[in-house]
Symmetry: C2
Subunit: 458 residues, 2 copies
Amino acid sequence: MQILKDIEAIVGTKGILTGNDVANRKAGIWIDEGIKAKAIVRPKNTEELSKVLKICNEKKQPVVPHGGLTGLAEGAITLEGQIAISTERLNEIETIDTVGRTITLGAGVQLEKAQNKAEENNLMLAVDLGARGSCTIGGNISTNAGGNMVVKYGMTRDSVLGLEAVLADGRIVTSLNEMLKNNSGYDLKQLFIGTEGTLGFVTRAVLRLREKPKSTNTALLAVNSFTQVTQFLKHIDRGLGGNLSAFEVMWEDFYKQVTTEPALNSPPLSQGFPYYVLVESTGSNQQKDSEHFEELLEEALNLEIIEDAVVSKSDSDRSNLWAIRDDVEQHYQDGPVKMFDVSMPILSMEKYITDVHEKFSENWETYKCVVFGHLADGNLHVVSGVGSDDDESIRKMESCIYDPLKSIGGAVSAEHGIGLEKKDYLGISRTEIEIDIMRTLKKSLDPNNILNPGKVFD
Amino acid sequence: MQILKDIEAIVGTKGILTGNDVANRKAGIWIDEGIKAKAIVRPKNTEELSKVLKICNEKKQPVVPHGGLTGLAEGAITLEGQIAISTERLNEIETIDTVGRTITLGAGVQLEKAQNKAEENNLMLAVDLGARGSCTIGGNISTNAGGNMVVKYGMTRDSVLGLEAVLADGRIVTSLNEMLKNNSGYDLKQLFIGTEGTLGFVTRAVLRLREKPKSTNTALLAVNSFTQVTQFLKHIDRGLGGNLSAFEVMWEDFYKQVTTEPALNSPPLSQGFPYYVLVESTGSNQQKDSEHFEELLEEALNLEIIEDAVVSKSDSDRSNLWAIRDDVEQHYQDGPVKMFDVSMPILSMEKYITDVHEKFSENWETYKCVVFGHLADGNLHVVSGVGSDDDESIRKMESCIYDPLKSIGGAVSAEHGIGLEKKDYLGISRTEIEIDIMRTLKKSLDPNNILNPGKVFD
């Protein structure tokens, strides 16, 4: 194919994979199938990518950006006629500024590598998620990744100070701002954050770093009602004065399964409470902060907002508490399930979950529907199973989960993105006018529709 | 004029001002002249505004959004043939959600009114600036206002969860998201934040609120070198574990003038040190936090990073320390001056200020050039005067201040915006490709160029 020859002339033989070298790579770390694509192109710098995209644009050749392929919304799926462009050779950490607290790096750098670089300099990158060892900074940015630190530090968007991206026509947009404040014209980086590679291809970034916290306090609480969960959120958030760094809630059935054999964890608090909260605070002085943290829990017990508490006294205690929250796989053992990622105002959650159960029970005699999530961010995950994962069952489950979001202003994707997977449901969370504007932006920046076409919306 | 009649038919007589009712209003709170415009239109809701814009778009009638008119970059200046559209009747606080910690309100609500509403509910709106009593939420959003809390809470952008805006053609984009996490499609609100009313007219917003801090600690420090200023920034930021809420630096000559008669403040620390730092922390427990804050200052003294310190022991102490930092008007007493608002990497600041002084001294035998600012955000303000404020002098001063920013990746506007005032200098901070993309966005969303035309770029 001529286009592949033209591309090879730009990137060299090392820069392009075809045939089995493509098919032997898995299409995603959660997907068993191999990648379907004409080729995987691996530019070694922005200039090469620019030239490649220029050709693809002229030939109307669709391309799909590939990072760590850890996404959960089918945002990096390729079709046979498409070309995947991988950031794997754009993987240099360029500079770290310990005074300005910034790191400048290539889109292909793995999140964990960037985290480690920050750590070595007594700093912290405030983006963290389970896939840290595989996912890339470019992917984190393109999907505006969430994770466990959002309540304190925000989404990935909030850690991005500057970006470089290549437009569909090959133009390089270098906006590598390093400052917290820059109101010089439109903030163009927002076009490339969370837009899943549909408006431009992120090649480099400047990320904000923070001074590394000197203390961590963690506890697991048992709570009797949803109202008390919200009271406890306010109590602990106010009490910690901005240092609340995680507020994870597990519904009763989630907790039961992850603390019952064959799960490896035993229950640090007895089973049977309606809600369990994993709360964490980071701060500046371990002794003072621990005292204060425990006083706040004492107060909550005395106020009868919480029923019981276990406080981590060591790193291994902390790991054990998080292991319970993170052992989502337990819910995959009784047949096929699907994990949902939705968000909504906290005050709507209790009713929403009731409505979802009602819808499931209208459709199926037995079903699984366990709930957990980053409650303070409005983000719930629901693991649902109805015994079968044929298309019709999936569609029906999706309808049960997504439909009730519309009337409460909820989102069909809180942190995973839309990709192909949720495209049909975008209209639940966004108006026709909003989707029209998305199309307007897409058309104005990628008139030939070559950048990750068909993702997010049609 | 037919268009004014058509508009009056939509908004009623109360909704439109003409003639002296226009001219008698000041064009800005810092401007002596009256407003020049065909009319000031005051829609009472989004629907009225939508109809007005639809007519203006059809007739290619330029409009300029008006909030509190406190902007510092001529972003709301109108020409005689233009129509000003004021948010003054879109001034309702609609709801406050104390669990989700959000406030939903009209664009015309004054910042201070929103702050007070939050306070009444034991919450805090983390946007604050000097003009709080006059500026509006819509203006804060359209200019992405900065202020004194950015190092802890970010710019206005970081407090905006959802928006409603009207496009040039009258379409209403309602994206009143209430969640911290929502990755359902493009984050369209970014189009309307910091774009100075050129892409859409903000009518309503959902803002994030925080639990109100329970403690405040404030100190003024004297520091011997710029390197020590940066060492102290890292020391205190790390030591406070995320609770650093302000880090304001005054250069020697700034401090001298604001603590010498006729200034009302006396110097709490002796004059003559090269730098003075006003540092503030907010937290959760006044006693514990004060102890910890003072220990950190002790450490800094022992490490000889700082030379002297005075710690606020009361609200009035705190007010007095801030009064020194805020008494910028002292620098206006010796003839005409211009205040600049720039940002740059912290590590480039010392050299930048040296370069600026060199440029001034090449051009003028005597001049004023005093420096202060939100150093941790990379943001400096420079008050400059050369004895005359004729156009040529202003242009020469601008050149001295802006030209050296180019090579260090600095910004000609850190927090004030571009408006008309800095339009000619946008190219110092942004590339031609970036400005082209801004034009592309403008054209695709406002093809008739009716929304605040001529602002930010041509």
